[in-house]
């Protein structure tokens, strides 16, 4: 295939791959995808030299003004799209990108157009990378890499030879091998593409298999752990406020069974507290149990308490990537059943909090399967509930001097008939009558709860939750305070929740005998201080890319490598077993042969003729070793296509480009000397130099003896002179 044709084809292929990436990402609507596909098909056929297409295309000439008009129109449509239709930068941008791609494909003529096409396809493949995290993207991307390598290679080569794509004469496609560097041999194709594939494969292999040699020079030091509040043994009321505006990411929670999840909010439970002394919360039972290990890295959490709830929700699996925190608490949706992670031990306490023995020193990954207790119908309707003693002992404690709170609780709930109804009424009262505010630093006050309930009437989650717990307890309903995170930021691109410091939250768990501990939240939903901006999805999208990058590359650890190696070895074992049967079948005769040879060697008694023969062989080998450079030199100077020949062809091509800038171009069917005469007529000043270079070119290109280095440097000098001449002329 001729170079130019291959070049055009591979450029279109590159664009096609990028476009199909977008289509597979389902970001191109049908009304746009269809015409673009048609355009791509036409341009492929055109580049392939299908006769009627070529004729049709040459007949249709598009004026630049019309094209510019089209582009301006497309840009206006982009604006309309952005404001009215998609209302989002990314989809609208992609639509515009596809339109640009189509227009460029239709007007591929100059090298500049090709460069634009590459830029567009690069943006397209990046955009499709951003839109997906699925596996089909990998082959598309690999294909793109290959096509890109190949196309850029051809681009470079065509530039070097100074071939312009527009001057392909109709016959050159059939007479593929007529011109010197204008044809792609099969060898060239496989060599270059093979190199590209090999490079990619080698890089991947090195990345995944070669062990990491310590830390990189530029690696970011792990730094300090993030400071968290609310997860120590003792929590002062009113300290969370300080972190409520911190946007630092604490963890990311993936939900593999996305359908089962409400993507609006997810409670990630940290620790529960049962004792409130009027100013701070603490645990009464500090006893911790180690969880039983059911499989490697899998821990089973026993049901909390001796009264397991009647019914549980379906399993909710969360894959959590926890940043380095200063707490040993493991967060999970309420009630965790199974914990999987690379831990030696995991502990839990009586209130269902999960912990590691010590705060982890690096970011950790673990996954938890939880089942949430469902409120049993009996518990909702029963007018009195009987609580077990252990619950009554721990979860009805109120600080001394809570009469005001108790009065309020009774006043609010005296009309409700059932404990469940009372709970609801109190929650409702808190939701409706108190304002959310972060300026409520009550940590230094002696009665922060009373301050919140009766004086300020504004506060945040901790205040609400504490108020609800204490109020419930004063009317005899067991409850406890839970701290953790409330995830609300769903990243639709990566399919996970981003949890930040400011998502730290406190809520309430209320005990019902048949249902267990039921989550309730008295805090009103915070209306975000800033309206969601148009750029927010873009930010989320960048975030998800960063996560993927992080996971696949930055934090791809030696442990992951080990896993890959194990996998490779396991599949290798199977192969080896098959192979060994073959080898054993083959090896028997070979072994016998070796035995015979060693036998001969052992009994060999060298006589004079053998010694002489051996000496000759060794001498010959040494001789060849010594003169092999000379042989190689001889071979290169006697090759028909020597380096000197290539060099003069390149110089000549450079001369052609220089002269072309002067407005004299060489049609492909014109010989060098005819061209020299043409230059004589068209550009007198440059003619002598062109004549000199042409003479050298003739000698170097077509004669049997290659040019001497002096001749070559003279030619280069002449080309330089010609270039300076054009500069003067301009």
């Amino acid at each position: 295939m001729p170079f130019n044709q291959a070049f055009a084809l591979s450029s279109i292929l590159l664009a096609t791959v990028a476009f199909s990436g977008l289509v597979l990402g389902q970001s191109v609507p049908l009304w746009l995808a269809l015409p673009t596909t048609i355009i791509i098909t036409i341009s492929i056929l055109h580049a392939y030299g299908v006769g009627f297409i070529r004729r049709a295309v040459t007949q249709v000439t598009v004026s630049p003004t019309l094209l510019n008009g089209l582009l301006v129109g497309a840009f206006i449509i982009l604006l309309i799209d952005l404001i009215a239709v998609s209302q989002d930068l990314l989809p609208a941008g992609i639509h515009f990108l596809v339109v640009l791609l189509g227009v460029k494909l239709l007007t591929l003529q100059q090298r500049r157009d090709y460069r634009h096409l590459y830029a567009i396809s690069l943006m397209a493949i990046l955009a499709s990378a951003a839109l997906t995290s699925e596996a089909w993207y990998v082959p598309v991307f690999l294909l793109y890499l290959l096509a890109a390598v190949w196309t850029l290679l051809l681009y470079h080569v065509t530039q070097e030879t100074g071939e312009t794509t527009s001057s392909v004469s109709p016959l050159s496609t059939s007479a593929c091998h007529t011109t010197f560097p204008v044809c792609i041999t099969r060898r060239f194709f496989w060599l270059t593409n093979g190199t590209a594939v090999l490079t990619v494969a080698l890089t991947l292999a090195i990345f995944f298999l070669i062990p990491r040699m310590g830390a990189g020079v530029l690696q970011k030091t792990s730094g300090e752990a993030l400071r968290t509040t609310g997860f120590s043994d003792r929590v002062d009321l009113g300290t969370i406020g300080s972190v409520k505006q911190d946007p630092q990411i604490v963890m990311r929670v993936e939900m593999p069974d996305q359908t089962a999840v409400n993507k609006i909010r997810l409670y990630l439970r940290g620790l529960a507290y049962d004792q409130y002394n009027g100013q701070s919360w603490s645990h009464s039972g500090t006893r911790r149990r180690s969880l039983s290990l059911v499989a490697e890295g899998t821990f089973l959490v026993p049901p909390a308490g001796s009264y397991p709830p009647d019914s549980l929700s379906g399993p909710i699996r969360q894959d959590i990537m926890l940043e380095t925190l200063d707490t040993e608490v493991l967060f999970a949706a309420p009630l965790a059943e199974l914990v999987r992670g690379e831990f030696l031990t995991v502990q839990d306490d009586v209130m269902g909090g999960l912990r590691l023995p010590a705060p982890p020193s690096s970011r950790i990954r673990y996954s938890v399967t939880s089942r949430e207790p469902q409120l049993a119908p009996d518990d909702q309707t029963a007018s009195t509930l009987v609580y077990p003693d252990s619950v009554r002992a721990h979860y009805l404690q109120v600080p001394e001097g809570s009469q005001l709170v108790a009065e309020l609780a009774h006043r609010v709930s005296h009309e409700a008939m059932t404990p469940f109804a009372r709970t609801k009424v109190i929650q409702q009262h808190l939701l409706e009558n108190y304002g959310y505010s972060l300026d409520a630093d009550t940590a230094t006050l002696s009665h922060p709860l009373e301050e919140f309930l009766f004086t300020r009437k504004t506060g945040y989650c901790e205040h609400y939750a504490t108020a609800m717990v204490v109020m419930l307890r004063t009317i005899g309903i067991p409850a406890r305070l839970v701290t953790g995170f409330l995830a609300t930021e769903w990243n639709e691109y990566g399919g996970y929740f981003t949890v930040r410091q400011r998502d730290a939250h406190a809520w309430v768990e209320v005990y019902f005998p048949r249902s267990g501990w039921v989550t309730m939240d008295p805090t009103p939903t915070v209306i975000a201080a800033v309206a969601p901006s148009r750029w927010e999805p873009l930010g989320r999208f960048g975030e998800s890319i960063r996560l993927q990058w992080d996971r696949l590359f930055i934090h791809y650890s030696a442990k992951d490598q080990l896993a890959v190696v194990h996998g490779v070895r396991e599949s290798g074992d199977v192969m080896r077993e098959k192979g060994s049967r073959w080898i054993s079948a083959l090896s028997a005769p070979i072994g016998q042969l070796f035995k015979r040879l060693t036998e001969i060697a052992r009994t060999f008694e060298p006589g004079l003729p053998e010694l002489v023969a051996g000496g000759i062989v060794v001498g010959l080998a040494l001789f060849i070793l010594m003169v092999r450079d000379r042989i190689a030199l001889w071979a290169t100077t006697h090759l028909p296509t020597s380096h000197a020949q290539l060099a003069i062809v390149q110089l000549y091509a450079r001369m052609l480009r220089t002269v072309e800038r002067q407005g004299v171009s060489k049609p492909s069917s014109v010989t060098a000397s005819e061209f020299a005469r043409l230059v004589e007529r068209e550009w007198e000043a440059g003619a002598p130099i062109v004549a000199t270079i042409t003479a050298l070119y003739h000698q170097g290109r077509f004669s049997r003896t290659p040019l001497t280095p002096e001749d070559l440097s003279r030619a280069a000098e002449q080309v330089g002179q010609l270039q300076s001449l054009t500069r003067v002329a301009r």
Binding site: Q699, F702, R704
Partner: protein, 313 residues
């Protein structure tokens, strides 16, 4: 003696007689060096015979001239076996073909039968008569002249015969100045008769051997073959160039390189020779109402085709 000097001298020698036709003379010399045969085609009286004559005169070789007429027989050319009484057996009397340079004047005035008798001599440089094969002396060159085919009393040459000519040249009318020089010459003697031989047969053979040494780069071979291919695929032609034609073009290009003082070919050699070497070997699809194709027309077609083939860079 320096080869380029030798070649220069023979061209100069011919130029003494043929005024202002340097290119035609050069091509004739190329044909000689390429071991080819030359077909000169033009209207009567522009110097075809004179050119052939002076080329032959410039060489120190044997020269025979055969005037082709409609009643000429093959044996008049190749020779005949006669009974020799003294030896009591048949003896071969060589015809005029047994010479180094043979001028076949007005070759298309004779019958195809007689024309064909030249075939073996031209391609194999040998003659077979009565089961006997006689080798011709080297160098051997046939220079034929013919009038354009539309003239009266002509038998067009068969394709097989045409293909055996390496080149077909057209001399064309001289300019006024050149014609004046021709007229100013003293009239007493045929100018060609006055020429001295400047080259011996041995020297010609040496030059021919030199042509074989000329280097043709691989891409040039490809270029040549692409031109030949293009004539076969062209819609303008009903008959493309034969392999003998391709071989001839290659040889001629090498000879031209020697004449121009090089030991390697250039694309220009091939491009310049293509119309001269190929145009009489092709047949046009449309002959524009003429009985046979005209010379200029075929040349223009070949030129057009050559212009579609890219030159190796």
């Amino acid at each position: 003696m320096n080869s380029s000097h030798t070649i220069r001298s023979i061209q100069d020698n011919i130029a003494l007689v043929i005024k202002g036709k340097a290119h035609v003379i050069e091509m004739a010399v190329v044909c000689l060096l390429a071991r080819g045969h030359l077909l000169l085609e033009d209207v009567p009286g522009v110097g075809k015979t004179t050119l052939a004559h002076s080329l032959a005169r410039s060489l120190d070789c044997s020269f025979k001239r055969i005037q082709f007429t409609s009643d000429l027989l093959p044996s008049d050319i190749v020779g005949v076996s006669m009974f020799n009484r003294q030896k009591q057996g048949f003896e071969f009397i060589p015809g005029p073909i047994f010479a180094n340079v043979v001028l076949a004047d007005e070759i298309n005035r004779t019958t195809p039968k007689t024309q064909s008798s030249l075939l073996e001599a031209m391609s194999e440089a040998q003659i077979s008569v009565d089961n006997q094969t006689h080798l011709l002396e080297q160098p051997f060159m046939v220079i034929a002249t013919q009038n354009p085919s539309e003239y009266h009393g002509t038998f067009p040459l068969p394709e097989s015969q045409l293909d055996r000519f390496l080149m077909r040249l057209c001399i064309g009318y001289p300019t006024v100045e050149e014609e004046r020089k021709v007229l100013d010459r003293p009239y007493s003697l045929h100018p060609a008769e006055a020429l001295d031989a400047v080259l011996s047969a041995q020297e010609v053979l040496a030059l021919q051997a030199r042509v074989d040494q000329v280097h043709m780069e691989e891409s040039l071979t490809d270029y040549l073959l692409a031109i030949v291919q293009a004539t076969r695929q062209s819609e303008l032609l009903s008959l493309g160039v034969s392999t003998r034609g391709a071989l001839g073009l290659s040889k001629a290009a090498k000879a031209l390189a020697v004449v121009r003082g090089r030991d390697y070919c250039l694309p220009d050699d091939i491009k310049e020779l293509a119309p001269i070497v190929l145009s009489h070997r092709v047949m046009l699809n449309r002959t524009h109402g003429m009985r046979t194709q005209s010379f200029e027309h075929a040349e223009r077609m070949v030129l057009d085709i050559v212009d579609t083939v890219p030159v190796p860079v």
